[in-house]
Symmetry: C2
Subunit: 365 residues, 2 copies
């Protein structure tokens, strides 16, 4: 037998030290100890839920509803619409996009025009566009999609629990989110939900989805929701992550969904007022389209945004971030989600921003 | 705004109660509190590692190395070769298999014959076939694959840390495992490794992989191992799961890899002797091909295997399981992995099995 040629890494011979930080970026956000402790429960056998991140859920939705050659429409006003388009292209869909400038959104008339022109089987829209800070209006779009015989896929990763959303009344066919934003659970799981219309399309498709791991024929049985008497092993679910997710949902139930929406809205308005009184500008002009969970601030003129975020991390132990995708260089992003959404945290961030603007080098850029 | 039409589920208004069980099935196995506690560390920003289960890693390997129309060969002597074949078929590969009966394995001559006949770009083999209890010999196969210009993909989910494995010396091009077996971390992460040959093939492919989430062009940059100066956001890694995985690797480093291999081998032999002295038969005839981590026992004649596993769970609080895929109905499977691999646990399982054979209804079947 050959001997081991590689020595174990020295870093594994030292204890793990994890810093405590204020996670005020666009996610992941801080996890209350109650939720972390739920995840430290002992492992049991396979249970029911979804394994993966928001990206996995996005691919799951697209892989199962779209076949090669199908027409797909995505609304691009930030990074998520771009990514949905790329995912659909990779599996051979004919993809069209409608594009709004970062910070903007679409009217229902614009959406209807595109549905009428491209006749897609699937229309993708991000409810909470965390790269640009836009909360997209949803009313009426589901009904348009039904009229054009199209499934309505909504990304609610950055919005669920933090802004009003009514899947059934708003005619949403597939809705997914992530565990690590408003829900305050560790990243790694992604709740997803399907309407009856979506199930009909998914279970009558002609070809198998490209992914076995994300094939809803298997997952529906594994989750115990396909009506069959026995469940077949599909994959090994991340049990302890589900414990944390379950606890995070229990926290939301205790507060009440409407109360949580209201709290996020009030805290966001308080934050926005504070920013404007400092002379900073909000990236999303229209008030009603501002995402209450992730705020985008126009990158302060004359500063290097990277110096600001580094300074705030180093001096205040607070994580905030710059832009993402189409908003890179244009914005600073501050996420105050779930347990982090409080006026005390707003005051902390405003103080850190004031300090950063004073100490960072305006002359540098 | 419409009012909420669905009340929060009652189960979320009660505390989470997780039972303590002896997890002696084929995985997940028990997680020591040290590893669970590492996972309860606070969340920090994005770090480097792989997100998903063993199935995700399997798809990642196949999606990135195989293009539509490529020839793929999989060795089927249990469920994993079947699943690898199905994954490759879904992305349009020409898939051939060599098939051995459950409990069997392949000689290098048989593998060479198939490589010569089908000229695949990728050959899949499960090192630890957890559905049948086979530890497949590896020596010489990597060199055969190199001769036929084929990548050698090895599934080591059930074997890593519990049986000797030398990726470089054995010419393995892609190796992956899971967190929840010998490593004793919660399920949800999957370490994966690529040889230089694999990287060359992956980074010179003509078409994009079907999955954006599993595209190694993105992941290599996200992991910081593509040599580029800056990392681009790809997805949100399950940070706390990585903490647990890191701690599980630290535990393995403390014991030493060779010591861990030796312990698993000794405990397995002790277990196998005990089973035979009870009159039970081992499913894998050839001693050297018995997986030291997951033992397959021929389902005792005249008993309903489901009654045995249920009785042992109910009476002894021990999870063991029946067969999977081609071994369903043929075997009982007992996993003793990582911290669970001890003579004391063998004695506990043997006692439970004796008790079950006495109390379950032999006449029922």
């Amino acid at each position: 037998m050959p001997s081991l040629s590689v020595l174990p890494p020295k870093c594994l011979q030292k204890p793990l030290l994890v810093p405590h930080r204020h996670m005020f970026g666009p996610g992941p956000s801080n996890v209350p100890s109650r939720i972390l402790e739920a995840g430290a429960n002992p492992v049991i056998g396979h249970i029911i839920h979804f394994t993966g991140t928001g990206h996995t859920a996005m691919e799951c939705a697209i892989f199962n509803t779209v076949e090669s050659g199908d027409s797909v429409l995505t609304a691009v006003n930030g990074i998520w619409g771009e990514r949905a388009a790329e995912m659909a292209e990779r599996i051979g869909a004919r993809v069209n996009t409608i594009v709004a400038p970062p910070g903007g959104f679409f009217t229902n008339a614009e959406i209807e025009q595109a549905l009428s022109k491209y006749r897609p089987v699937l229309f993708f829209l991000a409810h909470g566009e965390s790269s640009t800070g836009v909360l997209h209006p949803l009313d009426g779009i589901g009904q348009l999609c039904q009229r054009y015989n199209c499934l309505f896929l909504v990304d609610a990763v950055a919005s669920i629990g933090g802004a009003p959303l009514h899947m059934d009344q708003q005619g949403i066919d597939i809705l997914y989110t992530g565990s690590q934003k408003v829900l305050n659970a560790p990243p790694g799981t992604a709740p997803i939900s399907f309407s009856e219309r979506a199930c009909q399309k998914i279970f009558s498709r002609k070809s198998k989805p490209v992914s076995f791991f994300l094939d809803l024929n298997w997952l529906a049985n594994y989750w115990g929701c396909d009506g069959k008497p026995s469940r077949v092993y599909h994959h090994t679910g991340p049990v302890t992550a589900f414990f944390s997710l379950r606890e995070s949902l229990a926290v939301l139930v205790e507060e009440g969904l409407e109360n949580s929406w209201e709290r996020h809205q009030k805290v966001a308005e308080y934050f926005h007022t504070g920013l404007e009184s400092m002379g900073l500008k909000l990236f999303v002009k229209e008030k009603k389209a501002r995402l209450p969970t992730v705020t985008t601030i126009v990158a302060p003129h004359g500063y290097d945004w990277k110096e600001i975020t580094s300074y705030i991390m180093k001096t205040h132990n607070i994580e905030i971030s710059g832009g993402l995708g189409p908003s890179v260089g244009l914005v600073l992003r501050v996420g105050l989600m779930g347990c982090n959404s409080s006026k005390a945290n707003v005051d902390m961030v405003l103080g850190a921003l004031k300090d950063a603007l004073k100490h960072c080098h305006k002359s540098k850029v």
